[in-house]
């Protein structure tokens, strides 16, 4: 694990890139990209930023291989949990009956079928 100096230059270039990526993400959002593409672009840029921070600021490039393995495996499992849960929500069968809208204004009157008192 060589401890030779990380040059000032690399630090400054890294963070210039990161600032640019933040601005890029902002511009894309304000430009009105919508739907699935908005998600893909936003997460893509965030992923690139995370990669840059990990490789340069967290000196992953100059660490031993065992640390690299940890840095690769953890995000994979994050993705695993998120993706399979979202797949479950999207592939559920549609509800056989639509759920009546929630009206919170007044407690609903007693159900008529069961309990209305007999007409005297």
């Amino acid at each position: 694990m060589n401890e030779e100096r990380s040059t000032l230059g690399t630090v400054l270039i890294t963070y210039a890139a990161l600032y640019l990526l933040v601005v890029a993400n902002l511009v894309v959002a304000l430009a009105g990209v919508s739907g699935i593409w908005a998600l893909v672009v936003a997460m893509g840029i965030a992923g690139i930023q995370a990669l840059v921070v990990a490789l340069f600021s967290m000196e992953l490039l100059r660490s031993r291989r065992s640390i690299g393995v940890v840095a690769v495996i953890a995000p994979l499992f994050v993705l695993l949990l998120v993706s399979l849960t979202v797949v479950d929500v999207y592939t559920r069968a549609p509800s056989p009956l639509e759920i009546p809208p929630i009206d919170r204004t007044v407690p609903s009157p007693p159900p008529s079928g069961i309990t209305s008192t007999p007409s005297p």
């Binding site: 065992s66 495996i73 953890a74 499992f77 695993l80 949990l81 399979l84 849960t85 797949v87 479950d88 929500v89 999207y90 592939t91 559920r92 069968a93 929630i102």
Partner: protein, 528 residues
């Protein structure tokens, strides 16, 4: 002769020790205590089922008891037992190191374990949760019993296991003896490595879901309340993402113990070192893909049920490879039938039976009938008690001479092992049949036709309890009346037997340099 036990004998020297061996012994004592606590809860539950109606406890008490039985057994015994107890003691010795990578962190893990246990005991005494160890919302959000202390207790215990995981992986990576490659490590170290991976990836997710359910139960945030947009299935996904790999935390270290005991008692190299090592990693990683088989009937989509079904099958393959490799190790060996090997035989039979019923449950349509019935209860008890507890007892007898310097009593050991095996099969085989008959689990009341089998199961539980008590008494008795233990009673080639028993404070008189592998039984054992 100075060893780690009598190096200093003040209480403070034990409480502030940084010696991994003492921390291991303290973990073993606490963990055995909680085994007895959980066991008592189990006995009361079995007594309750002697008659279909109310027998000795009220429904409310029964619900609290089965919740606490689950929580105490899972987080206070099964998960810390072999990694924190035997792992702490033997991993540095097996690697030829003086101590674990972060000794102070190791002691912190012990204290966090005790704090978590105390918070749990406070929860137990003060109207414990009656929600089942799975804490499913929306019931956990509306129950009037106090779930918060139990939840926070488990949260704190989770941190204790995370710290142990960090410690073990760093130790294996940085503190191996000179010239010891990964392939020269004993198989118990591989098992601990696999279990630590799961602890590091799974336990934080448990920590988070417990905090969420505390918010839901304590402050009514309605995170999973459908009236406020919530969906209980999101809880189940995040909870089972931890809880299924948690059962592999409970089974991987016992597999490591069985690999050690089989190789030593058969005096033969394992049939295939690579098969066991790589299947340990296989179980550790593929274990995370299979959590959905707990939710086949919970309203998850059929598409997901199919994916999780096929992925759950892949985990079973790795366990099966290990079982075939252990059995093959006995071929052409020189087998000593001693107490640890009797436990390994019961481990083999019960683990295959438990594992295969697991595969059966993963075949999706069968699970619809079995889910949440006593069949599933019997399945996971075959794995947790049949495999993990048996392997814990095997490890206890196998390493007793090394830890205490005394030999245990062979006759009593075998008697205890047979009693435990008979008691266990007597308890849980009838529960398989009752589960097939359709008796749901967590039932205070059950239909009359299931009474005969339940009475049989309760009788079996007494035999199991008797066996465990016998083992406890004879082992403590052997502390005083047991004969002095030689450094290598089993003539094993594994590294932990190359040091005197009980080992000195710095493990090896001089820094070891191992020239031969841990399983070279084709070479004679020259005196240490």
């Amino acid at each position: 002769m100075k060893n780690y036990l009598n190096a200093e004998t003040t209480i403070w020297s034990w409480l502030s020790t940084k010696d991994h061996k003492r921390i291991g012994v303290m973990f073993l004592v606490s963990v055995t205590l909680f085994l007895l606590v959980g066991g008592i809860f189990a006995l009361i539950l079995r007594l309750e089922h002697l008659t279909p109606g109310p027998t000795i406890v009220s429904p409310n008490m029964y619900n609290q008891l089965f919740t606490l039985h689950g929580v105490v057994m899972v987080w206070l015994f099964l998960i810390p037992a072999i990694p924190a107890g035997f792992g702490n003691f033997f991993l540095p010795i097996m690697l030829g190191a003086k101590d674990v990578a972060f000794p102070r962190l190791n002691l912190a893990s012990l204290y966090i374990f005790w704090v978590g246990a105390l918070v749990m005991i406070y929860g137990i005494l003060d109207r414990a949760a009656d929600t089942g160890w799975t804490f499913y919302p929306p019931y956990t959000s509306v129950t009037y019993t106090k779930a918060t202390p139990v939840l926070l207790g488990v949260f704190i215990l989770g941190w204790s296991t995370i710290i142990t995981g960090v410690n073990f992986i760093t130790t294996i990576h940085t503190l191996r003896a000179k010239g010891m490659r990964f392939m020269d490590m004993p198989l118990f170290a591989w098992a601990l490595y696999g279990a630590s991976i799961i602890q590091l990836i799974g336990t934080p997710v448990l920590g988070l879901i417990l905090l969420m359910i505390v918010m839901d139960h304590g402050f009514d945030w309605g995170l999973f309340d459908p009236a406020r947009g919530g969906d209980p299935l999101i809880f189940q996904h995040i909870f089972w993402f931890y809880s299924h790999p948690a059962v592999y935390i409970m089974i991987l270290p016992p597999m490591g113990v069985v690999s050690e005991v089989v190789a030593t008692m058969a005096h033969k190299n394992p049939l295939s070192y690579k098969a066991i090592a790589y299947s340990t990693f296989g179980i550790a990683f593929v274990g995370f893909l299979t959590w959905g088989h707990h939710m086949f009937t919970s309203g998850m989509s059929e598409f997901n049920a199919g994916i999780f079904g096929i992925l759950s099958m892949s985990v079973a393959v790795f366990s099966a490879i290990k079982v075939f490799t252990w059995t093959g190790t006995l071929y052409k060996g020189s087998v000593w039938i001693r107490t640890p090997l009797v436990y390994v035989f019961s481990f083999l039979f019960l683990f295959i039976f438990g594992g295969m019923t697991g595969v059966a449950v993963a075949a999706t349509s069968l699970d619809v009938h079995w889910h949440d019935t006593y069949f599933v209860v019997a399945h996971f008890h075959f794995i947790m008690v049949g495999a993990s507890l048996t392997a814990f007892l095997a490890a206890l007898h196998y390493w007793w001479p090394k830890i205490t310097g005394r030999m245990y009593f062979e006759g009593w050991g075998v008697a205890g092992a047979i009693l435990v095996l008979l008691g266990f099969v007597g308890t849980f085989f009838p529960l398989f049949l009752v589960g097939n008959g359709g008796m749901p689990r967590r039932y205070y009341h059950y239909s009359e036709q299931f009474q005969a089998l339940n009475v049989l199961a309760t009788a079996g539980s007494w035999v199991l309890a008797l066996g465990l008590l016998l083992i406890l008494v004879t082992l403590i008795w052997s502390l005083y009346a047991g004969e002095k233990a030689p450094p290598n009673p089993w003539h094993s080639r594994s590294y932990e037997w190359m040091t005197p028993s009980p080992p000195p404070k710095e493990n090896f008189p001089e820094t070891p340099h191992f020239v031969r592998g841990p399983y070279d039984y084709h070479l004679p054992l020259e005196p240490p």
